[in-house]
Amino acid sequence: MKPRLTAGFLPLVDCAPLVVAHELGFAEREGFQLDLVKQPSWSAIRDMLALGHIEAAHMLSPMPVAMSLGLGGLAARVDVLMVLSVNGNSMGVTPAIAERMRANGWSGAFNAPFETGKHLIEATGGEIRLGVPFPFSMHAELFHHWLGALGISAGEALDVRTIPPPRMADAIGAGEIDAFCVGEPWGSLAVETGVAELVLPGSAIWAFAPEKVLAVRHEWCEANPELTRGLMRAIHAASRWLGTPENRMMASELLARSDYLDLSDTIIDRALTWTIQPRPGQIGERVENFQRFHGGAATFPWRSQGAWIATHIAARAGIAREEALRVARACFRSDLYRANLTGTGADMPGASEKLEGALPRATPVASVRGEMILGPDAFFDGQVFDFGT
C-alpha cells in the first residue's frame, strides 16, 4: 500500500501547489497518497501540525519561525521545506478613507507605495486600525515595513488586529478596522461586496516576499526522509505546472471547487493572471509579480528569508536577535531542498543566503547549472538587509 500523508491548508489562492499536487497526480507519481484537509484558521493548522494530526501544512512564512522560537499559543520545532508562494497580498481601505485620500489629492495609482502611504496616513490622521490574518504573518511585516518607513511605527499609532481572512470583508464593512492586508481571493471579494478598495499590492512594498511555506515538524522530516523527498518533489512539480501561463485557467477551475475555495473562478483568476481590480467596476490592472509559484527560485527556502523574518519578530517580541537568527536559519531547509530536488530539473542557486532587497530588477546570477535569473526583490524604500554569514 502507498504511504499516505495529510496536509492542512487554508482556503486561499496560494494553497494551489498542494491542490495541484493532489488533483493532478504529482503526489501519486512520487509514490504516495496526498490527502488534503481544509482548516478553519491558522491557529488550528498550527495546533494540528504541532500535535501530529497532520504531517504537512500550508503556513504563513513567519509561523514556523515563531513556533520554533517558542512564540505564540503553541510552540514546536517546525521546518520550512520550501516556499509555496511569493507575494500575493493586497492592502485595502474603507471606501470612506479612499474618498478622503482622493479629496486630498491622491492619484489613485495602484502601485505607488510612497504616495499611497502618505495619503493613507494623512486621511486617517496617522491613527490606523489595521487588520491582518495572524500576528505572525508577512501581512503584518509588510504593514510594519511600509508604514514604518513612512514614519509610523507599531505600538504608537498602529493598532494591528488579527482577523481571519474570510472575516476580513465583514470586519472592514462593520467599521472594526480602517485598513487590511489580506491574501487573495479575500481582497478581491471585499472589492466585489463594496466594503473596501484595494490601494496597494504587497509586491509594491517588497518585490519578493516569501508568503506561504510548506511546513513540517522537524522530527517528522528527520524520521521520514523518503516521504519528505516525495512531498518536496511533488510540490515542486506542481509549482512548475502553476508557473506555466496556459495552465492558469485549469488552476482557477480546480481551486474554485467546493473542497477548496468554494468561490467563483473569475474571482480566483485575478491573482493567478496578475490582473487586480482595485475598485468595483474598474478594469483590472496588471501587477507584475503579483503572486509567484515558480521561476526566479521562488520555491527555494533561502536561509536569509528566515533571518529576515526572525530579525523583525525578535525585535517586536523582545528576544535576543542572534539566537533568533540561528533558529530561523535552521528552520529554512535549503539543505533538504538541494538534496531532494537535484535531478528534477530544478536549478539551484549557488548560495543559500542572499542579500534581501538588493535586486531592483531581474538579474542573472551564478547557479549550479550555470546561470539563473533572480529578482526583482527590492523594498520600496531601497532598504537592503545583509545578515552576513
Binding site: P40, S41, W42, S43, A44, D47, M48, L51, H53, L71, G72, G73, L74, P133, F134, P135, F136, A154, G155, E156, R161, T162, I163, P164, P166, R167, A171, A174, E176, R316, A317, G318, I319
Partner: protein
C-alpha cells in the same frame, strides 16, 4: 518577557476561576455552560458575537477561554498570546499545554482552550475535562443530525428520480427503483448518486 506576562495579570488566587465560552450558537453555548457549572463553581461568560472579540475578551479578562477548534475567530484570540513590546496586553493567553494528554484529548474533541499564563494545572484540569465531555456530546449530536439530514436528502432525491423515470418511461415505481439500483451497481456508485445525476441531467434538458 516572562516578567511582563506575569505582571500583566494579577488577581487574588482565592477568587473564582473566570471562564469565557466563545460560541455563536446559543444552544451549544448553553450546553457547555451547563457542563461547566456541574463541574465546579466558576464564573462563566458567553461571547456569541465575533465582532470586536479581542477587545471584549480584554475587558472580561478571563482565566480560561473555551472555543470550538473550527471557529475561525481563534486567530483573533491568538493575538492575546502575543505580548508585543509597546502594546501591553491585559491578558496573555496560551493554548493549554499543562498536560499534553489533556491537550490532545481536547483537540480530538474539537475544543481549543486558552489559559492565562501561570495558572496552576490543578485549577485548569476540571474545566478542561468538563468541556471535553460536553464537546464530545456536541460533536456526536452534530454528526447524528448531519447523518439524519443526509439520509433525508438522499431519500428525497431518490423519490424525485423515481418520479422522473416513471414519467419519462411509463414504468412502475418498483421498476423505476430497480432501474436506479441496477445502474448504480453497474457503475459502482450509490443509488443516491445515480439519482442525483439523473435529476441534474433532467434539469439541463428542461
Amino acid at each position: 518577557m516572562a516578567a511582563r506576562r506575569g505582571a500583566a495579570y494579577i488577581r487574588p488566587v482565592s477568587s473564582k476561576l473566570r471562564i469565557t465560552v466563545v460560541d455563536a450558537d446559543p444552544e451549544r453555548a448553553h450546553m457547555i455552560v451547563d457542563g461547566l457549572c456541574e463541574a465546579g463553581d466558576f464564573e462563566v461568560t458567553v461571547l456569541g458575537d465575533d465582532t470586536g472579540l479581542a477587545r471584549k475578551l480584554a475587558d472580561l479578562a478571563p482565566d480560561v477561554v473555551l472555543i470550538d477548534l473550527a471557529n475561525p475567530s481563534r486567530d483573533t484570540l491568538e493575538q492575546l498570546s502575543v505580548a508585543t513590546g509597546a502594546n501591553s496586553r491585559p491578558v496573555a493567553m496560551f493554548v493549554d499545554r499543562s498536560d499534553p494528554e489533556m491537550t490532545r484529548a481536547a483537540i480530538q474533541a474539537g475544543l481549543s482552550a486558552y489559559v492565562v499564563d501561570g495558572l496552576k494545572k490543578e485549577r485548569i484540569k476540571p474545566v478542561i475535562d468538563a468541556a471535553i465531555t460536553r464537546f464530545h456530546m456536541l460533536s456526536q449530536m452534530r454528526s447524528e443530525l448531519n447523518a439524519a439530514k443526509a439520509a433525508l436528502a438522499e431519500r428525497k432525491m431518490i423519490e424525485r428520480a423515481k418520479g422522473l423515470l416513471i414519467q419519462a418511461r411509463g414504468i412502475s415505481e418498483d421498476q423505476a427503483y430497480a432501474l436506479l439500483r441496477k445502474t448504480a451497481m453497474d457503475q459502482g456508485k450509490k443509488v443516491a448518486e445515480v439519482a442525483q445525476a439523473l435529476i441534474t441531467a433532467a434539469e439541463l434538458l428542461k
